[in-house]
């Protein structure tokens, strides 16, 4: 039922997300993939690490490269999906935690892309970038990061 809340935008994508989540068992559905620039030297992230990265607390990869976080607007269906399915956190909490950091000077904000396509292009073009898309296609110029 939780996916129903994602559908406030009324897009067809919502219907598909809902359908997939009904057909496939939870955890396998994977309506959203965490992606990274191909230069990133890791292939998987722990849940803690993924939360620390999207929470803007962890700012560099193990090899020292700066992490660049790209996200979609708060009310975007995919943003809701990555928060709940991959990070296990509510989108409003991620926003509160960013605002606490940004307006006290303790960290910088993630970069916002206006569409999924723009986000994919930015992650592909920016060394050290991380983001998320609905499903990575075979020829997309990014790599998938498994969040475990």
């Amino acid at each position: 039922m939780r996916n129903l809340r994602f559908c406030s935008n009324g897009s067809a994508l919502c219907g598909i997300t809902l359908l997939l989540s009904l057909i496939l068992p939870p955890g396998v559905a994977g309506a959203v993939d965490v992606i990274a620039n191909k230069s990133v030297a890791v292939d998987s992230l722990s849940l803690a690490s993924a939360r620390a990265i999207f929470g803007m607390r962890q700012v560099k990869w193990p090899d020292g490269t700066p992490i660049r976080v790209f996200v979609l607007p708060d009310d975007h269906v995919l943003h809701g999906a990555v928060c709940k399915e991959r990070l296990n956190i509510f989108p409003y909490q991620l926003r509160q935690s960013w605002d606490r950091l940004v307006y006290s000077g303790m960290a910088q904000a993630p970069s916002e892309a206006m569409s999924e396509e723009e986000l994919l292009n930015k992650v592909a073009a920016t060394p050290g970038a991380i983001g998320y898309v609905r499903k990575v296609k075979a020829n997309d110029p990014v790599k998938i990061l498994n969040v475990e």
Partner: protein
């Protein structure tokens, strides 16, 4: 006229800053900001100007910050703030914070670092961003713990701070310890401490504040303890009997913070005690303990609507909660109800992207947190109501 002129200047500056609101100015450089405007009407007493049976609009905030991360181990940030709140704050531009942050240790899931400069003080859930309307739990802060009259004392101070974060699959632990010298040269604090504006002034002394915050299960439970001791010294401006002798105030303080978050509901509770220990001064001040706390339930509805209910209590002396021992029959003496405030708040908020619109109604018994500068003792009314409307923007 002057007010209208100021209002134009404020909104002019606001829109100018918003027109340049590109967040990423250059590689590693970001700009963000916020502004808010509130109107307030009270049945009695004054908040944010002359609000007693009138509409007061002297409640505004405008802030712009810049941050630069030249590489992952360094961060330089600063924020300029202008704030208007009745007679207590009249929009002077100041440095809200400005510091250099150096990461000393980074293992991926854990970081330790140090900050040097003017740093926001961790105190409860909300102190570090109390001037950013979107981050507050309502239109105004719960006044019990985040008393506006002592905001500058607790808000930010020049000093040094050691901090750390550790993320595990179960939760995230963050901590910060700051040593600082608070900025205390405002008249509100003299009213809070001496009940009047004296010729001399306070100066900050070495103080410290620390906080540990635990986010369990992705923040479904958030629990924190803040504690420290804020210190200041009063330097008289005149000789007795026109002024007090010099003296010191120590304020050991702690706050317990608990929050539960679910998809639709957030429950927040905070409880604090602050001792007020005065020494010297040539006249006897009795030590006392300020006790405060609030409970709030927030419900999120569809289309970015939310509603909330809060009960907020402040006792300026926990051993004299009703103020009867404090009250004096002498004419012009502050009444017993100036020692407590019990505040029921109900509010709604709607978020439209970066804009937040809020409305909130208060039903208050007591006058402890009203600004004395805006509220002469003779005009204080014990039971009063307040309506607040607010529009807030951030980028």
């Amino acid at each position: 006229m002057l007010n209208k002129w100021r209002l134009c200047l404020f909104w002019g500056a606001a829109f100018w800053s918003l027109s340049a609101s590109a967040q990423e100015l250059a590689e590693g450089v970001q700009a963000h900001g916020f502004l808010s405007q509130s109107v307030v009407r009270t049945s009695d007493n004054n908040v944010g100007g002359n609000s007693d049976d009138e509409l007061a609009s002297d409640l505004r905030e405008l802030g712009v910050n810049l941050s630069w991360r030249p590489n992952p181990d360094w961060l330089i940030s600063g924020q300029a703030l202008a704030r208007w709140a009745g007679e207590t704050d009249e929009g002077s531009l100041r440095l809200d914070y400005g510091f250099v942050d150096r990461t000393l240790y980074n293992s991926g899931e854990a970081q330790i670092g140090v900050r040097l400069g003017k740093i926001k003080n961790p105190y409860g859930f909300f102190n570090t961003t109390r001037d950013v309307a979107q981050t507050r739990p309502g239109v105004i802060m719960p006044q019990s713990i985040y008393l506006d009259q002592v905001r500058n004392f607790f808000l930010a101070a020049p000093g040094i701070s050691l901090y750390g974060n550790a993320d595990s699959d179960q939760g995230a632990l963050s901590w910060q310890v700051s040593a600082m010298r608070p900025e205390v040269d405002d008249v509100d604090l003299e009213y809070m401490t001496f009940l009047r504006d004296l010729p001399g002034k306070f100066a900050g002394r070495n103080s410290w504040l620390g906080q540990v915050m635990l986010d369990r299960d992705g923040g479904r439970w958030r629990m924190g303890v803040s504690l420290g001791e804020m210190n200041m010294r009063y330097q008289p401006g005149r000789s007795p009997p026109l002024d007090l002798l010099g003296g010191t105030h120590r304020l050991p303080t702690w706050v317990l913070s608990v929050q539960h978050n679910s998809e639709d509901w957030t429950y927040t509770a905070e409880y604090a005690q602050t001792q007020v220990i005065a020494r010297d001064y040539g006249s006897a001040f009795e030590d006392n303990t300020i006790e405060s706390g609030y409970l709030q339930a927030t419900r999120r509805f569809a289309d970015s609507w939310q509603g909330y209910l809060r009960y907020d209590v402040l006792y300026l002396d926990r051993d004299d909660r009703n103020g009867m021992q404090f009250a004096s029959p002498l004419p012009g003496a502050p009444p017993a109800h100036s020692r407590f405030a019990k505040d029921w708040v109900v509010g709604v908020r709607r978020d439209l992207d970066r804009l937040a619109l809020s409305a909130e109604i208060h039903h208050v018994d007591g006058t402890a947190w009203l600004a004395r500068v805006d509220n002469p003792v003779a005009g204080l009314v014990r039971k009063w109501d307040m309506l607040l409307l607010q529009a807030a923007w951030r980028f």
